[in-house]
């Protein structure tokens, strides 16, 4: 008995879920038939269907409201006071909104955000690549030599730049020690 009641309530729930589409005639034939069959035997769902139908009819025949008689005059007064540049160019935000809306229409609402994000990331990547810091290609050299060579481009004298001065001093010290060791080896 209880199982039958559960079955009935499930059927009623299913039927009521479909009533809106049933009234639109937008259900597949099989579902239309199932709903009709259920409505014929279930007074509760038939009542729901009837109320739903009446609600929709009421909405569709409801009173319509219109603007006042001076609407056009007021609108023209506003349009005449608009600054010219505001008419010439749409704002960036509005253009962006229209553009995204256009994407939504073309690709569907689900895919549009993904596409927009993808395009934004691609644009960002292109901007980074094209406008990133430029690097001078130098032949591979030991670091101190490369640095001292760069210093030669940027400073008239290496001692103008403390870092360059340190590098120069290190170079000098290493060349001194190298010449000392060469002298020692030649003496030996």
């Amino acid at each position: 008995m209880k199982t039958q009641q559960n079955n009935n309530s499930n059927e009623c729930r299913n039927c009521q879920q479909l009533i809106s589409d049933y009234l639109e005639n937008s259900l597949p034939a099989r579902d239309m038939w199932a709903v009709e069959k259920h409505l014929a035997g279930c007074s509760e769902c038939a009542c729901v269907a009837s109320e739903m139908e009446n609600t929709v009819a009421l909405l569709r025949t409801s009173e319509r409201f219109d603007t006042g008689s001076d609407f056009m005059a007021k609108l023209h007064a506003r349009l005449d006071t608009l600054p010219a540049e505001s008419v010439q160019r749409a704002s960036i935000a509005e253009s962006a909104r229209d553009w995204v809306a256009g994407l939504q229409e073309r690709f569907g609402a689900r895919r549009a955000p993904v596409l927009t994000l993808g395009l934004a990331l691609s644009t960002l990547a292109i901007l980074i690549v094209t406008n990133g810091p430029t690097r001078e290609v130098l032949p591979v050299q030991p670091a101190p030599e490369a640095l001292s060579r760069n210093v030669a481009f940027t400073a008239s004298s290496p001692f103008d730049d403390p870092v360059a001065a340190k590098v120069e001093a290190d170079n000098f010290a290493s060349s001194e020690s190298r010449s000392d060791s060469e002298n020692a080896s030649s003496a030996n």
Partner: protein, 200 residues
């Protein structure tokens, strides 16, 4: 279908002329759509004065950005999208929708008795149209709907827009639009049902 195509074609010609600074063409657009836009906005915000202002604003914005309008969407969709965005901004500003209408749950019992005498089993829309009281009940029930549900049910059942256009206006998938319409109708049915069938 042919009629819709003809309207869209006429709209496209008007838009092209308006984009070339033809004020008469823009006038024609306004005259063609102002009632629909106003009716929709009025039912969304329930204030005649503010609805007129927002309708004006809709067309001012349309005028300002008509050059950027591309005929991917129909003019109808574009205008309703502007109007919907304005309504959303408006209700954000005025969190609580002005209570021009009375709540169904707060009615006096006397008024309820009067309402329950009206309906009968044979539903006659023409007769109901004449019934101002029922119109007020409908307004009240619509005002109590969440904004998202109210938007879609007004666009679909009152303005007669197709699902696809509504999806473009509110920026939702088609399935979401259909489900919101179902929920909105169910909610309205629950609130208005007794007045429509006379069963209660």
């Amino acid at each position: 279908m042919v009629a819709v195509g003809t309207i869209m074609h006429a709209d496209t010609a008007l838009v092209q002329r308006a984009q070339a600074n033809d004020r008469a063409a823009f006038n024609e657009i306004v005259l063609r759509y102002k009632s629909k836009v106003y009716n929709y906005i009025f039912r969304m915000i329930h204030s005649a004065l503010d609805a007129e202002d927002l309708t004006q604003e809709t067309f001012v914005r349309a005028y300002q950005s008509i050059r950027s309008f591309q005929s991917r969407a129909s003019l109808n969709t574009w205008l309703f999208r502007i109007a919907t965005n304005l309504c959303i901004d408006y209700s954000r500003r005025n969190k609580r929708v002005a209570g021009m209408t009375t709540s169904l749950s707060q009615e006096g019992s006397e008024e309820e008795e009067v309402e329950r005498e009206i309906p009968d089993r044979a539903f006659d829309p023409q007769r109901l149209l004449l019934n101002k009281e029922l119109g007020l009940k409908l307004n009240a029930a619509l005002a109590e709907l969440p904004e998202k549900l109210r938007t879609v049910v007004l666009l679909y059942d009152v303005e007669g827009l197709p699902y696809e256009e509504i999806a473009a206006i509110v920026g939702c998938p088609l399935g979401t639009v259909k489900s919101r319409i179902f929920n909105a109708r169910s909610s309205l049915r629950t609130k208005l049902g007794p007045y429509l069938t006379g069963s209660a």
